[in-house]
């Protein structure tokens, strides 16, 4: 608490009549945290890369779909391994060429990041919305609603999630696709989002339910009730602004989890498939004999970039949490 002296404080008050909201305070605290700020820049960098991928590859002059193994056969052996050392890194192909069909790794990584982040972001948004709606409803309404939402959460948490993912992906995809056309990429994307969302919202909902339950006991909610506030208003004006903190903290932890989970699915071959570039699909390529036996350079591009991204995001998450809640030890 910043203690405050009434008589003296008046002079200063004239200068800063606007109070600083908790959000602003958090922002000030966050800005002081160097690790957090650097991590934030790294994370923003990745999102920028994703956003600007088409532009960058245009400037760079290649796209991630050109089969260089057929365009430039002299660069490859007959099994599709780049002949030059270090995965064929050269002034022309900055990150080398992908063993197999010989895609350009640089543009593929750009687009891979773009697609992965897009999907994960969408899952996060869907999850957050569901989490808010169900979590807050269960916490605030209590009783039957709470009971059933909690049971559903328990039930879904008992799901072997990965197993469910791989089992349901083909089903979900088949719901959308006409047998004539190629499975459009967006269908896979939607299916990925849907499947991850389906088993992804529970922990957030649970946390928000807890937060709401705790908030419901807070006296300012009672104060609103005593004034005759309808439930809608209480949720909107009193509860929602207060779940923003856990929401933000949780989302910063959730998003990298979704990124890795999405990559895991593509790695298993049930997510995004060739030739659509995707982080996870690159891992799946990286784990082929071709790469592991011949030249492991390729492996490092998706690997290192993902580690940097996840570490930065996790550090950012820690900083956000610290900024909101300076008590917790780090």
């Amino acid at each position: 608490m910043d203690g405050e002296q009434e008589p003296k404080a008046k002079v200063e008050e004239a200068k800063k009549l606007e109070g600083r909201s908790p959000g602003q305070l958090m922002w000030i605290r966050f800005k002081r945290d160097r690790t957090g700020v650097i991590s934030a820049y790294v994370v923003i960098f990745f999102f920028l890369i994703g956003l600007l991928a088409p532009l960058i590859s245009m400037l760079y002059g290649k796209d991630p779909y050109t089969v260089f193994a057929d365009e430039r056969p002299e660069l490859f052996d007959s099994a599709g391994v780049p002949v030059q050392p270090n995965g064929g890194i050269s002034g022309e192909f900055w990150f080398g060429l992908e063993p197999g069909n010989g895609y350009d790794v640089f543009t593929k990584l750009l687009y891979g990041i773009r697609n992965s982040l897009m999907i994960s972001l969408a899952v996060t948004v869907a999850t957050v919305l569901t989490g808010i709606i169900l979590g807050v409803a269960a916490g605030y309404l209590g009783g039957r609603t709470d009971y059933w939402v909690s049971r559903v959460i328990d039930f879904l948490l008992a799901f072997p999630s990965q197993l469910f993912f791989i089992a349901s992906m083909p089903v979900v995809v088949s719901l959308f696709v006409s047998p004539k056309d190629e499975t459009p990429v967006y269908v896979r994307v939607v299916a990925l989002i849907a499947v991850q969302w389906f088993l992804g919202w529970m922990s957030l909902a649970r946390i928000l339910r807890g937060t709401t339950l705790a908030l419901r006991e807070r006296e300012f909610i009672e104060a609103a009730k005593v004034s005759g506030a309808p439930p809608g208003r209480i949720i909107r004006k009193e509860i929602l602004p207060n779940v923003v903190t856990p929401l933000l903290v949780q989302s910063t932890y959730m998003l990298p989890n979704f990124v890795t989970a999405e990559a895991g699915l593509s790695f298993l071959g049930v997510g995004i498939v060739e030739p659509t570039p995707d982080w996870g699909q690159m891992f799946s390529k990286a784990s082929t004999e071709l790469v592991m036996q011949n030249d492991i350079t390729y492996m490092f591009f998706p690997g290192i970039s993902m580690i940097i991204f996840i570490v930065a995001f996790n550090l950012l998450g820690d900083s956000v949490r610290d900024a909101f809640d300076p008590k917790t030890a780090r």
Partner: protein
């Protein structure tokens, strides 16, 4: 447990409390169910938080409610503001039954019954500015004071002794006492007739407490607002309330005007309570030493309260009758008008020291004997 005795008319006006009865609670009861059991969850018991109490708060008066932790004071307050649904009994506000009124039915009187809370930290939404917090109730009830809500809020801030410039500040920028003032301003925003104040000062430092007590007193005097003032600090209640009820384990065991309760208590528990209050001897004359009563143990659990008189397990006068029969809350002989006591074997109406201290606590007794 239900009070099945004929009740004395609680609306009887006493000299100290002029005016109409504003709010009347009859046989007010709240039992919180305890869930449990196997294999199917069901109600296996109940916390008898409030178990059939009768209260009357008159227009413009301050009614104090004291008692130990867990005796049901807050529950009573929240029943009266209709934050909780009573299990049994009746609440009449200006003669109108609001016991089970829904949110819509309550709307017209919502603005007349307001509440002030104990915890200055949790009673204000940390994400709203002071202005939003205070104008909230007006907005909800569609009140548009002349000159606009903002002007009214600034006025209110002034009334509670805060700088009107604080309009755009957030609660965390205030100290505990100031927050409590914000809480008062919020309660005043609707120009209520009754304010339920649930331990409004117990979380504050002594040096700040008085600021808030004085403010409330001013509000009560100047605006004629009635208070249901809940506190466990007997001194504060004495200072603020014209009439006082003492609760024990979900029951009112004694009620009366301030004078009667503090100087002529009849219930043994009231005696014990008063004797336990540590006093500062500022004058140093030591005259009129008060009695010393040391009860044994804590308040029993409200889940399975003792039969008959609930205080009997800690009472030095308890007899078989106390276990068999719950004493009714009546005006026993020797009491002034409006001073009701629920006791089979009441004490003398004095707080003077007795010949021998009553020490029920075995350890204390042992230690004192060994001296």
């Amino acid at each position: 447990m239900k009070e099945d005795l004929v009740l004395p008319a609680p609306r009887e006006a006493t000299p100290e409390s002029p005016g109409e009865p504003l709010l009347v609670a009859e046989n007010l009861t709240k039992h919180f169910p305890i869930k449990g059991g196997f294999p199917i969850r069901r109600t296996v018991g109940a916390v008898q938080a409030v178990d059939g109490i009768d209260l009357t708060v008159h227009v413009g008066e301050s009614f104090g409610l004291v008692g130990e932790s867990g005796c049901g004071k807050s529950t009573t307050g929240r029943l009266i503001t209709r934050l909780l649904e009573p299990t049994d009994g009746k609440i009449l506000y200006r003669g109108q039954d609001i016991t089970h009124a829904g949110r819509k039915q309550l709307a017209p009187i919502r603005s007349e019954i307001q509440m002030i809370f104990q915890d200055p930290y949790s009673s204000l939404n940390p994400r709203q500015t002071v202005g939003t917090i205070i104008s909230g109730p007006m907005e909800i009830n569609g009140i548009n004071p002349p000159g606009g809500r903002e002007k009214r809020v600034r006025e209110l801030l002034e009334i509670v002794g805060l700088n009107p410039e604080h309009y755009n500040r957030f609660p965390h920028e205030f100290s505990g006492g100031q927050r409590q003032r914000i809480g008062v301003a919020r309660a005043l925003a609707l120009e209520p007739k009754l304010i339920v104040a649930d331990e409004p000062v117990s979380a504050l430092d002594v040096s700040i407490q008085a600021q808030v007590v004085n403010l409330l007193q001013k509000v009560q005097d100047e605006l004629g607002i009635a208070f249901l003032f809940i506190a466990h600090d007997l001194a504060v209640v004495r200072h603020f309330s014209q009439r006082v009820a003492v609760m024990y384990l979900g029951k009112v065991i004694e009620v009366g005007d301030r004078e009667s309760i503090y100087t002529r208590p009849r219930h043994p528990y009231t005696h014990a309570l008063l004797s336990a209050v540590p006093e500062v001897d500022v004058t140093g004359d030591g005259e009129g030493r008060r009695e010393r009563i040391r009860l044994a143990g804590d308040v029993p659990s409200p889940i399975a309260p003792p039969s008959g008189c609930r205080f009997r397990t800690r009472c030095w006068k308890a007899q078989d009758k106390c276990a068999a029969e719950a004493p009714p809350l009546v005006q026993i002989s020797g009491n002034r008008d409006g001073h009701l006591t629920a006791c089979h074997f009441p004490e003398e109406p004095t707080i003077e020291a007795r010949e021998e201290d009553i020490v029920l606590d075995p350890a204390l007794a042992a230690l004192e004997e060994s001296d």
